[in-house]
Chain length 345, copies 4
Amino acid sequence: MKALVYHGPGKKSWEEKPNPVITETTDAVVKILKTTICGTDLHIMKGDVPEVTDGRILGHEGVGVIEEVGSSVSNFKKGDHVIISCITSCGKCEFCKKGMYSHCERGGWILGHMIDGTQAEYVRIPYADNSLYPIPVGSDEEALVMLSDILPTGFECGVLNGQVKPGDTIAIVGAGPVGMAALLTAQFYTPAEIIVIDQDDNRLEVAKTFGATHLINSASENALTKVMELTGGKGVDTAIEAVGVPATFELCEAIIAAGGHIANIGVHGKSVELHLETLWSRNITITTGLVDTVTTPMLLKTVQSKRIELKKLITHRFKLGQILQAYDTFEDAAKEKALKVILEN
Amino acid sequence: MKALVYHGPGKKSWEEKPNPVITETTDAVVKILKTTICGTDLHIMKGDVPEVTDGRILGHEGVGVIEEVGSSVSNFKKGDHVIISCITSCGKCEFCKKGMYSHCERGGWILGHMIDGTQAEYVRIPYADNSLYPIPVGSDEEALVMLSDILPTGFECGVLNGQVKPGDTIAIVGAGPVGMAALLTAQFYTPAEIIVIDQDDNRLEVAKTFGATHLINSASENALTKVMELTGGKGVDTAIEAVGVPATFELCEAIIAAGGHIANIGVHGKSVELHLETLWSRNITITTGLVDTVTTPMLLKTVQSKRIELKKLITHRFKLGQILQAYDTFEDAAKEKALKVILEN
Amino acid sequence: MKALVYHGPGKKSWEEKPNPVITETTDAVVKILKTTICGTDLHIMKGDVPEVTDGRILGHEGVGVIEEVGSSVSNFKKGDHVIISCITSCGKCEFCKKGMYSHCERGGWILGHMIDGTQAEYVRIPYADNSLYPIPVGSDEEALVMLSDILPTGFECGVLNGQVKPGDTIAIVGAGPVGMAALLTAQFYTPAEIIVIDQDDNRLEVAKTFGATHLINSASENALTKVMELTGGKGVDTAIEAVGVPATFELCEAIIAAGGHIANIGVHGKSVELHLETLWSRNITITTGLVDTVTTPMLLKTVQSKRIELKKLITHRFKLGQILQAYDTFEDAAKEKALKVILEN
Amino acid sequence: MKALVYHGPGKKSWEEKPNPVITETTDAVVKILKTTICGTDLHIMKGDVPEVTDGRILGHEGVGVIEEVGSSVSNFKKGDHVIISCITSCGKCEFCKKGMYSHCERGGWILGHMIDGTQAEYVRIPYADNSLYPIPVGSDEEALVMLSDILPTGFECGVLNGQVKPGDTIAIVGAGPVGMAALLTAQFYTPAEIIVIDQDDNRLEVAKTFGATHLINSASENALTKVMELTGGKGVDTAIEAVGVPATFELCEAIIAAGGHIANIGVHGKSVELHLETLWSRNITITTGLVDTVTTPMLLKTVQSKRIELKKLITHRFKLGQILQAYDTFEDAAKEKALKVILEN
């Protein structure tokens, strides 16, 4: 089969690889129908994720059709259409039993990371019964690629951890794909005001069409001042950090109201300054989290009932064989006005 | 009347002041029966709390007897014995209605801070119906002084925010009076293991008699290494910070298990380094908080039913007129083996 | 002033009464701008609420303008526009401090019940600081009459108690004003499917325009069979009872899924049969509740941000002097296609 | 092997049966070390559980040692000591993923019910990775038999569903083994007062040694009157029903405080009268539930750290071969003063 293979920082190729096979009774082999590229893949390509080694097939998102299942797999059979979760869950370790699939002792984020991933014609999925989700007949499968990672990430790490409630005023700092997923799913809880902060006017305009009520371009405006104006000096009930750099996290610290919640989604490469000298008495919570994908079935229901339009997140479409071109487009997201690119097998 | 009066950094005196009088219909004047000294009073004496001005009577803890009430006070009458909460609550602002009395728009921590406090023969209590709690007849009133501040502080900011649960392994960093209050009230939720960390062997020994299952003297041992040994490398489910300096907060960051909770109680004077480069994917929560004292009625029930022995926290007793000597003792807590000192009027 | 006065079962008149005056320092006198009639008022007129005595002015809903405040009132002043809560809260009893205003020891539902109510030109409101809510300038005050009672009732007793969550399938049994309020506010949490069950085709059609996804006329269809068809035999995650008779409550018992929630809003006059012989192992919750109105400020924010359109609930408008005619219309709700009638002073 | 076999209502024998074998890759065969008899087994013997058919080996509790595991089992190996959960969980159906193991689509309560159980020398356990729990070396295995069923049942269905909190006043109606388990585990949350109600003075005396603060013999006293006296007319915050007949459930309805929680544990054979005509406005919750055993790992930690003494629940011990005699003793529990009987293989 053909696959997108990592060969060390800056080097990747679309090349021939052996088809994956069942190695455990709990495995499934899935033929990819649609996959995509994640910001994390770009980090890997830069060499920021050193545990990814030469020869690894990248990708941890996608929908597909079951090609073969191991003898213990009982939820799926050949021919079933499935969503591939970015998180592999064994379903029987201490963490899985607590719903913390992200920290599964035998899984977690391993696809396109510790084992071969989804940017390929086929992929082997360990613990298939717990790591795949059935796609109802007649679904828009392209949209469901968003359920592999970014929708549960924005929802669980941003909206649920951030405890968004009806009537709240919230801020989302960063309008990339995950920030947009937080924006879409925050509306499940009907906040009154949603302030989106980014440095890219195009993304801000898109955020507006996705439901943002106020936009702040932090390259051209003082975001702190602006948020305080909008909130009568109180700050926001929830601040969702979806960038991953110190400046944006510290902005969240500055704009959070007494009693509020800072929900970190961003992948951080260095420490940040936590201003406990003011925050100690502000009765706030700060949360961090890798996605558990425990809400995937619920998110699927909201998609099926048309409570959310995921297609909005898709800006570009390619054939899987054009994946190198798709990487180029996604790497130049600002210029290309790209959010998510879909690769069709 | 006589009162302990602040006259700028390092200067205080026990001197004659006018008796307080009712100024609003919601006020009460309370004759102090017992009061105490808080670590915060020492901070004030050092000049660390600049909004406390020359002439202020200090103190925000105590029990007393109602001397007089304003015309709108309906929960209390002359002669009633009461616990004075360190937090004044109007009961009718946005924050009070949410149970965030700490941020009451007309109250909060004002006693011995913005208005005259309890280290005196009498004190005026604003919003008496919401800021005082009735003492059941026959109670041990000395013990109930602990309900003014340290018990709700340790419980709400440490134990409740830290989400202590049956079977958990928790660490309490700092075995001063508030850390001890967290230690006592954590046991309301039956954690399996309670690790107490301090630099004072005497306090650690006391912690043991209060229910600590493991003691670590961080002056003589590497606390991080020791906690990891005790927890099989997993870290603790809840880490309660009860000191207020960067080193102890960063210790909490290092010892927290995936999915765990860091509950800050300490009053911090400077920022700390938050290691998001590792914590971003650890699914933790961090909380801060000034006490709301919303649990005072519940804590009183646990005291009345002898579920907790507060007298353990009292190490020294003085007459109110000996308050300068009591300050000396409390300031030299390590040498004097002092936790809480009681001043009797 | 003129007022609607109860004179025993079946007897009421629009008659002259003395203007209310401030009797406690915590009172306000409010000039009514808009009021309405509640199903409860009809119950009172039938004699079902025997503690309502001859001479009582009815009504517990409305918006108005402050005419005068007692000396302890600090949240409001003459000329302020306010929402009158159906629940009077002293803000300082054990129940109020827990947010259970419905059971306030000095208040609760007393307006138009134990004391004179809002179907009059003026009304005295005890504990005004805690029982009135400020109306932002420029609001549509007619719509805000819905915040006095039916919106918080549908939301707190139906939606919050019923734990409605994104992706859920819920049923609302009874499409009167309170059922409709539950229907509108359930959507704050984005359930996937909302089944509304009633015997009146007109109300069902209205429910559809309010967001119901499935309609069942239980007079012409077997509601149990139909719900089971719609849910693949599983039943609903939440069943909200908004009628108050045994048959509708028992329907909720029959349609609830394992792990589901039955939220009772209906005012029941007799006991119901609870089928524990099947429900004991179904892991369900059942809740009851008189509204606390603790969510009124939050609901107001959702109205201000146009997240909900309350005007939809208003079907008829009258001058306050036409109140007897308004009662006739409301009593004949099915024929008149009435939900809420507005009376303007 | 030898096993206790059901042969229709009233008929059972200790007889030879074939040893169980692995039939699925997820199975384990466990050699029983200790087992016990449950009240449910007595119900089966009376013919109350018609789905139990002639030839079934009874029993759903026990500890044992792994004899053999299927090829997909990864948490256990031959020789491991394990607690057998009364609930079988596949770990991969919709209910298991939500932590509702009781309703597992492939398991639930099946041992000694739909498949052969633990009152035998060996037992086959389906989905062993999710249905067995490892026993730490050096544990008191006899005590851990209580973790198979009654401890999680009393804790999850009684204490957790009943939302027992520090300072609460609670009532436990029924002092059989499960009521006693609720009594022991309720103390994890430090209620102030624990009222135990039963008709057997011996059990009440035992309850006192287990931590009950007040005892009511409902055969000789009016339980409702007595509870109201003890609670100053308010009723209890939580009422736990651990009997399973209408009278005891209706007692719970009568003694519950406004805002309180009725947690049903009892297995009911007929419907009860729910007094909504008074309860509709009392803001209560009622819960039902078959145990999920999701808290077993946590309960094990509390046992390991000696926070609870389970041995107290064991009143009689027999060799497994004496099981018919053990049934006789357990059936005559009042006279024999029996709580739990241990059968040793």
